[in-house]
Symmetry: C2
Subunit: 334 residues, 2 copies
Amino acid sequence: MIDIARHAGVSKSTVSLVLRSSPLVKAETRRLVERAIDDLGYVYNRGAANLRQARSNMVGMVINDLANPFFAELAVGIERVFQGAGYVPFIANTAENPLRQAEVLRALREQGVAGLIVCPSRNTPADAFKGLVADGVPVVQAMRKVDGARAASIVPDNRRGGRQTTEHLLALGHRRIAFLGGYRDTFAHAERSGGYCQALDAAGVGVDAALIIDGPPNRDGGETGLARALGLANPPTAVLCFNDVVAFGVLAGLRQRGLMPGVDFAVVGFDDVADARHASPPLTTVAVDSFALGERAAQTMLRMVHGDATPVEGVGDVHLVVRESCGAGMEQAA
Amino acid sequence: MIDIARHAGVSKSTVSLVLRSSPLVKAETRRLVERAIDDLGYVYNRGAANLRQARSNMVGMVINDLANPFFAELAVGIERVFQGAGYVPFIANTAENPLRQAEVLRALREQGVAGLIVCPSRNTPADAFKGLVADGVPVVQAMRKVDGARAASIVPDNRRGGRQTTEHLLALGHRRIAFLGGYRDTFAHAERSGGYCQALDAAGVGVDAALIIDGPPNRDGGETGLARALGLANPPTAVLCFNDVVAFGVLAGLRQRGLMPGVDFAVVGFDDVADARHASPPLTTVAVDSFALGERAAQTMLRMVHGDATPVEGVGDVHLVVRESCGAGMEQAA
DNA sequence: ACTCAAAATTGGAACGATCCAAAAAAGAAC
DNA sequence: GTTCTTTTTTGGATCGTTCCAATTTTGAGT
């Protein structure tokens, strides 16, 4: 920076002002300095800058499973908001591993992030964000939240989604409805299956614990879960899946058994990822609007960066998207 | 850090040594300092450290399209290597936008990354990495490479893959084979379609320019490309798709028209993403082994970080995976 | 007890930016 | 041409770490 100052015939303080595009410098001086900057191929050292001024332009997105297209969509949505605001978002994957998550959070903190959006991994301890929050780093939880954590959160209305789909299946005449996939110890599972139980109770059908089958929230989880469900003495005629990826597994599993999803068996997903409407048959699911959710999380974080300290607990709207996999019109099957 | 020194009754230099786990400190002193560290809830400031010592533990992965599951898989593979080596990988998405990519690269440089793995966006200028390379930051291109860029690269054998699949379709009796999707101005398109042309020429079939239909490398690109292909005066009986996602679009398009992929029409993909074998019908495709490719790119970068300056131009092995979408056994269709 | 090497510790000067208070330059008003 | 604002520029201290050379402590050998 001193080299530039010399080259442009000004002081390093002036160069600093130019770099931060301060209105204090005369236009002419600015041009002079700017020329020197690209003459010398100078690169700003963000680390040094952060030393004095905590304001960094780096935000972190900590995501539990990048391989799940839903989270990839969410990430893309979030990114778009930050781009416009002059922040550079970096994504880190924790692969559902709380240890890995802790490492990532530490690294981001050391790096001096301006804020964080986190989709907490499974089994995240309640105090995972304590240090960050105490330091005044805005932390927004997205999609999931850790109970006991004192950080903002933006989550979809999982309970309502679970209830709506279950009601839909009930209306189609199903009485044996399974809830498939996802780990019982996660926030999302508790809420989604909670909505499911609530709807069953309200309809006077009653919950059969054997029909709540957990497992990894991926394709395999769907396939093996389906196998277990069909192996029951009194098997279900419909399944509500923890998420769309699980539902894809179920669709594949049904087909392998020569069953036609949407005709012989009803399948409903959750999330409405881009592929859901391209599945065969197109998947009935709960649209969570990942884009809007990500946008909202990002905006919440920006507000916190700018000093708004009100703790936000946002709930995103969801709605049922009826396609073919639930077999609307298969009332006789039950 | 000075607070810690005082609290532990040592000097800041000693604390610094402990933080870097130097062998110079006595075990007893180390324990003393470590206790002070978590008593006071101290957080290391990586920025300040990088100020003196260029060695950062942050590596960047710049990815052109996170929404494509193939790149997400690649990213996960790369991450796994770095974790073991004590580096923290951050992912940034460029969404195929060279301007955005430039911003991201600048941000990473300012942040002082130890190295970069880049899947260059479309239309990346040849000098995009010049500054980085001049600074001695290791840059490894993965999957794609920019011509003229003097940076290492690890890419799959696209040409061979294109050739193999085309030969396979020829062997099944097809003579009108289209190449669908992808932008003509990308490296991967040039190589993959190059292999395709080569195989056609070798078989004496000849290339019909009308059968090379480009478009976005996503589901939509597949659907609209298929529509164009089927609208030709002399339509193809088989398509080789630029990648699996395009192929998924083609499968959906065929089904909408009441055509059965693998029976009425042959479809082949490229990449072998996880979903390829779960498609219906399971997709015949070229396996590029994203995991191994990512691993190799990461290891190349690590070698460069450790001072190995030999420019690497790695080519990853590919192999044809025959499933059902190509309709092995449909020779009569041609 | 004394010497000397080895091991462990230390203070102060960097690194590259920002902040602050103060100085210099430019304009306005008389 | 003063004097007084207002605008622009500036030097030096500072952020939290690492490096270096120098110092202190330890311990072995006599």
